[in-house]
Amino acid sequence: MGALSLTMLIALQIILMRIGMRRRQARNHAMTQAWRPVLNGAMMGIVPATLPPLAPRDMMPFLALWLHLQQSVRGDASEQLNAIAYRLQCDLLARRLLNQGNRTQRVVATLVLGHIRDRTAWSDLIREARQLDSAASILALWALVQIDAAETAHALAASLLLRTDWPLAQLATILQEERDAWEPALAEAIGTLDPVRLPDALRLLGALRLSLPPVLLNQMLAHADPDVVAAALRLATSPDSADQVRAHLTHANWQVRVQAVRALGPLGQRDDVVRLKALLADPHWWVRYRAAQALAGLPFVPRDELEALAASDRFAADIMRQVLAEQETL
């Protein structure tokens, strides 16, 4: 009987959930029908004198709709949406939800406060950014960057480099529009960072196309950990680093050699051709491939010299033929 009763309970639960979902959908639909034209008009600068009524229970779906539109626009359209939010006192609601809401409400509140750049929520957002919940905390970082990028960099650069749970891709998306504000703070934080965290930190800098002060970069390029050196080589874009880059072409770790070859490509001189040709015989495929690409990219290496390489020993010939064919088809 137990199994039968449980099955009946499950059936009842499914029916109740379906009824509840239908009701929610109908309510959300009505709210969207009333508000979407208003928000669309606002984005084009047409703001009505009086706004449609909005029941408290419709506030969360409304904020979801508002956020949906905000995520798709910039500039004046975004400001007009902010104006509507202020008229509805969404700033007050968001601050309240950030402190008292459940997890979903706090996430929505964080996004709203970021879009309206509400400085009064600063300390609450800092608290959110420091919590362990990866998704919620990185959104709080985003909101803080919207409010004041330089101040956020000052407050969070060091702790940001310690967060292994924040995806690099998402961090780069958040910081890339405010790279200048973050460059000095990140460089300073890297100077005092635990060596274990250095590779990820350097990869973030590389992703943001930021540079390190030369002294610090040289330290990283001379680091004992191959992961640190490989990550630092991504930042070695200046001719001043060329000698250190060349020194790593024969590094015991193939990942360092790959990054050294990549770095040398744009910096290469005539006498680097011999070094790169030697790497066409490297035991690791990626080193050979990047060396062939670097050679093919050097403006002073004539095509017939590359084709001669493609007819040389088997290792070099295979990879050189592939890279030349790629150049032809792309």
């Binding site: 499914i14 949906h68 749970d165 690099l168």
Partner: protein, 470 residues
């Protein structure tokens, strides 16, 4: 008391206990899945917002093994080219097809022979040529000697350039954002080595341009039974195990792997039928032996749709193949069971699979036969026989109903009340005949595995009307 009666009295509680433990185990998985789905629902609002991508997400190689797929391969590749992901390469591996698969690909995508410096990281059957599309720079085709699906995937791994690869069946229908969903666990956890997504039944759905445009239920009863089966298998079978990092199966139809881990494990094992499961079990075993921290995670979002068999013979062959694959996977990784560092996979998931999935059909069918004979001969009472039937069928209905509940809690894929009603009927009906038939087919699979009959590419009678050129 005769020996016969002693046997009956001893076996009756064993059979009943088996069914109780089996269904109890699944109910615990069900509870774990509910927790996981509730956790996931917290981020539903974020998923509903437009996503911003930096282009720094790890690039993915999509590997598409193809054997005699001339009718569908062009449409499949076209839909894969439209997947929404920052950096993606598609590698089709023509596994010595006897039809015009390669010619179709050459014509449709402007393929040109390409002097690829092909790396042999895993030994495969000889590669005849590598082609590159003149129209789509991220599309390559490997033409190789026939070696089976596992061998084709290995060739694809050798040719792939990116750190993550995703094995896809050529006839799968993918959600446009499927890779974005599948890659997420890799972004937040550096120890992630593989993720698998939910596969759903595409029969009855509308598909346009290689993408699913409207969800529907099939009219064919065989396909309908499989809709409920897939709900149960994915929403609490795999999700439940994923919560405790004990998932032993990632569907070959759509799974994302860290390439280096797979290469270190030796790649897919050629000449196996269940190459997808065997690889995952082997990864568990090897990483556990090394005491290396790792995660294998299940993404419950419906990311992949597949055409289920609509006739008895094809379904039977599929299930026989699956059971053989399961047996191969477990038998070749026996070292994981109760191993020193085995953890959840070695101490829970593996024994569970052995007891309830591998031996399940034997015990289940023997249980039905034994209890029926015992009742007919009057060796057990109607009460005992009724209790057995109630456990076997009643708990089966309960489990299927809970699969439907999880679906309703999370994705609401089937929006119409009539669809819910049909599924409700199927939840009950599948326990009267279909489930037992499945057990019989699985028993045949076990028998064939025991006889070590050679494996081949599975033949599948597909309709796939949406994929054919008009």
């Amino acid at each position: 008391m005769s020996l016969y009666l002693v046997l009956v009295q001893a076996m009756t509680p064993v059979v009943i206990a088996y069914f109780i433990v089996l269904n109890g185990g699944y109910l615990i998985l069900n509870l774990l899945s509910i927790v996981a789905l509730q956790r996931r629902s917290r981020d539903a609002i974020l998923d509903s917002l437009p996503q911003v991508y930096s282009g720094l997400e790890p690039p993915i190689s999509l590997l598409v093994p193809a054997y005699n797929e001339e009718a569908t391969i062009a449409a499949s590749v076209r839909s894969m080219l439209q997947l929404s992901y920052a950096e993606l390469e598609i590698i089709v591996i023509n596994d010595g097809s006897k039809d015009a698969t390669l010619d179709v690909l050459k014509e449709e995508f402007g393929l040109q022979a390409f002097p690829e410096a092909y790396r042999v990281q895993i030994t495969t059957q000889p590669v005849h040529a590598v082609y590159r599309s003149l129209r789509y720079p991220n599309l390559r085709v490997i033409d190789k000697a026939n070696g089976g699906k596992a061998d084709s995937l290995n060739a694809g791994i050798n040719a792939s350039r990116y750190p993550l690869f995703c094995g896809v069946d050529a006839d799968s229908i993918l959600q446009r954002d499927s890779l974005q969903k599948l890659v997420r666990p890799f972004l937040t956890d550096v120890t992630m080595v593989a993720t698998g997504g939910t596969v759903r039944v595409a029969n009855g759905c509308q598909v346009s341009g290689g993408f699913l445009t409207q969800v529907g239920l099939p009219r064919n009863p065989w396909a309908l039974f499989q809709v409920v089966e897939y709900l149960r298998a994915f929403l609490f079978g795999r999700l439940g195990w994923s919560v405790v990092n004990g998932m032993l199966i990632i569907s070959g139809a759509f799974g994302l792997f860290r390439k280096q881990t797979v290469i270190e494990a030796g790649g897919y094992r050629p000449k196996t039928i269940g190459e997808d499961m065997e690889l995952v079990v082997r990864i568990h075993r090897l990483l556990r032996e090394r005491d290396q921290p790792y995660r294998i995670e299940f993404v419950p979002d419906p990311v992949c749709w597949t055409e289920a068999p609509e006739d008895r013979a094809t379904l039977r062959n599929q299930r026989i193949r699956w059971q053989r694959g399961l047996a191969e996977s477990l038998a070749s990784n026996w070292g994981l069971m109760f191993s020193r560092h085995g953890g959840v996979p070695g101490w829970l998931a593996f024994p569970f699979m052995i007891l309830f999935e591998w031996l399940g059909p034997v015990v289940e069918l023997c249980g039905y036969v034994f209890m029926s004979i015992a009742w007919v001969l009057g060796a057990i009472s109607w009460d005992a026989f009724g209790t057995f039937l109630f456990l076997a069928v009643g708990l089966g209905v309960l489990l299927s109903a809970s699969g439907l509940l999880l679906e309703e809690m999370s994705f609401h894929i089937y929006p119409r009340p009539s669809q819910l009603l049909v599924l409700g009927v199927v939840v009950v009906a599948e326990n009267f005949g279909y489930r037992q038939l499945n057990s019989w087919w699985r028993l045949v699979g076990l028998w064939r595995w025991a006889r070590q009959q050679e494996s081949t590419w599975g033949t599948m009678t597909r309709k796939g009307n949406w994929q054919r050129k008009v």
